[in-house]
Symmetry: C2
Subunit: 352 residues, 2 copies
């Protein structure tokens, strides 16, 4: 599946050559930067959920339309590329998956070339446009997938909802950080749209829409997807503080340094405000600063002692149970149920 | 036509409400900012060319598919909104059409609200996402326009080319400024993609594709559109230096202050390097600096004396003649020929 998705993406980039060749080397190079970014890796989570959603509605990889469906599913990786490239500018992230982020790559080219103007601004500008290109190309890829008109028509509104939700969720995230909303509810609302809908719920829904699944299966998929999506983000929040750098690919405690307003932090602050005001003050004054490894260790201890970690673990367990119950009660095929159960557990399992 | 386009856009924004309502007030507000930006004005040039291209292939506003075609044409304004919102971030522009640009609007909200973090970065971040939303919604609007599947299928590749070209053209522009390519050829290449293809050639092509026009008419439209598009940008370049602020809505000589690498400037530098090195040095040292009104007057005199203004005027006249000849020789309807001729002259006429 991963290989098939990557093969579709690689093929799509080949089809773009005729569009960009007349623009010359600067744009050919930018397209190559995007291609490298997209093909460099990632777990292809979104295409996998979409594809499994389609199969689970009673289809098979041998169906005549399977090829077009897989291509449309693969296009989710281009939306993801756009989201990540723009997110990295917004979050001022310097690396992703062990490579410089796109804006840092272009910033470096500018600096090395001793070009005119501000290197960082140049990097952000070109990366903004490369992200835009990814967003436009995601659409082009779905239009060119070879879906029959009825399938493309069913696909449209779900695709629209997904793109609006991920962009809106990202706005909520930025606004929440700026506005200092520390509530668990605000963090959950961001999770709901920025991650859950976009990563699992809508991909499954897209697969179901392509399959022309019945409304009951769509409802079950969406319930499963929302719950697992939120649980997945909660697991990611725990990994962002407690994860092993060798596993996460990010420096230890990186979320603390970034000052991310996660449910974990919101839960800890809520508890500390009631029971341990000095701990609350310490969390607030440390978040978003360049904390040392010793400070990370101390903050971990505080989050654990406050019971915030256990509370998040309980939430993950509860959401996972609820999601699996919705899946079990659905009309999805037995194969898809097995597959989705495994994907749900992999996305939410304790691994540190 | 303008009113009809705006009515379609206003209606489209109403259809987005169901998508954004669950996201809450922050996103509802961002969508309103986008709606205000889109409905605030502009000449609706791109929808007008697309619609006229469709009519010129032998269609009438009374045809049953006219409604869907007009909606698809109106969606060009959402691509344009995305391009302008991101351009304004990239160019650090503070105002557009007499209003604060979107990123400045959000920067001000952040500052007035005394929120956490850097106001300018917050403004750019939210505006990046609002631009992304416009780009995604442009696609949604074409998918929802009600085009029949065959028309939507013909529309796709032209729509893809147009979006890739405008983003690529913008990359060329940024890269050209940074790399200091001062050649007339480089400036023309940027014009070709950033303006000509995007503003006139591809909109006409889109209209022709929707009409299922014959290849000869498409070729004639594209030739006309490319030439008039480049001429339009050359006129805009002259206005950017010589235009009356009351007409252009921009401070006098604004392009000089921005340091824009236009054909006019490239032509002037080419001539000055051969005949008047001190003038070349003065242009190079003034461009992109905060020139005074007296310095603007002096630079205007130099550009004129070098013959660069006349050279650009000649280029405009030549391109316009060539474009009108292609139009006259085409199979477009007599009405469309009249209309396109008037639009071409309005876009390129000397008006200062």
């Amino acid at each position: 599946m991963v290989a098939a998705v990557e093969e579709r993406l690689a093929h799509f980039f080949v089809t773009r050559r005729e569009y960009i060749a007349p623009l010359g080397p600067v744009v050919i190079d930018a397209a190559r930067a995007l291609e490298n970014f997209v093909l460099r890796g990632g777990k292809r989570t979104r295409p996998a959920f979409a594809w499994t959603g389609w199969l689970g509605a009673g289809h098979s990889a041998d169906d005549p339309e399977a090829d077009a469906v897989l291509t449309a599913c693969a296009a989710l990786e281009l939306v993801q590329a756009a989201a990540l490239i723009h997110d990295d500018i917004i979050d001022s992230s310097r690396t992703r998956r062990g490579f410089p982020t796109v804006h840092v790559d272009y910033e470096t080219r500018h600096r090395d070339g001793q070009w005119a103007g501000d290197s960082a601004h140049y990097g952000a500008s070109i990366a903004t446009l490369i992200g835009d290109l990814a967003l436009a190309w995601a659409d082009d890829m779905t239009r060119d997938a070879g879906l029959d008109p009825a399938a493309l028509h069913r696909f449209g509104p779900v695709w629209a909802a997904m793109r609006t939700e991920v962009l809106g969720g990202q706005m909520l995230d930025i606004h929440g950080e700026a506005g200092g909303d520390e509530s668990v509810e605000a963090a959950l609302q961001i999770n709901r749209f920025k991650t859950a809908a976009y990563t699992i719920e809508r991909p499954l829904h897209l697969g179901a829409a392509l399959a022309d699944a019945d409304p009951e299966l769509i409802a079950a998929y969406r319930e499963f997807g929302t719950d697992i999506g939120i649980a997945f983000q909660l697991r990611d929040d725990l990994l962002g503080v407690f994860g092993d750098p060798a596993v996460t690919g990010k420096p230890s405690g990186d979320d603390l340094r970034e000052g991310k307003r996660t449910v974990l932090i919101a839960e800890a602050l809520r508890r500390a405000d009631l029971s341990d005001p000095p701990a609350a003050a310490l969390i607030r004054s440390s978040l978003g600063t360049d904390v040392t490894p010793d400070e990370v260790t101390e903050l971990r201890r505080i989050l654990t002692d406050l019971g915030a970690v256990d509370a998040v673990e309980e939430r993950i367990a509860g959401l996972t149970d609820q999601a699996l119950a919705a899946l079990d009660a659905s009309t999805a095929t037995a194969d898809a149920k097995r597959q989705l159960r495994a994907m749900a557990l992999a996305a939410t399992a304790r691994s540190y």
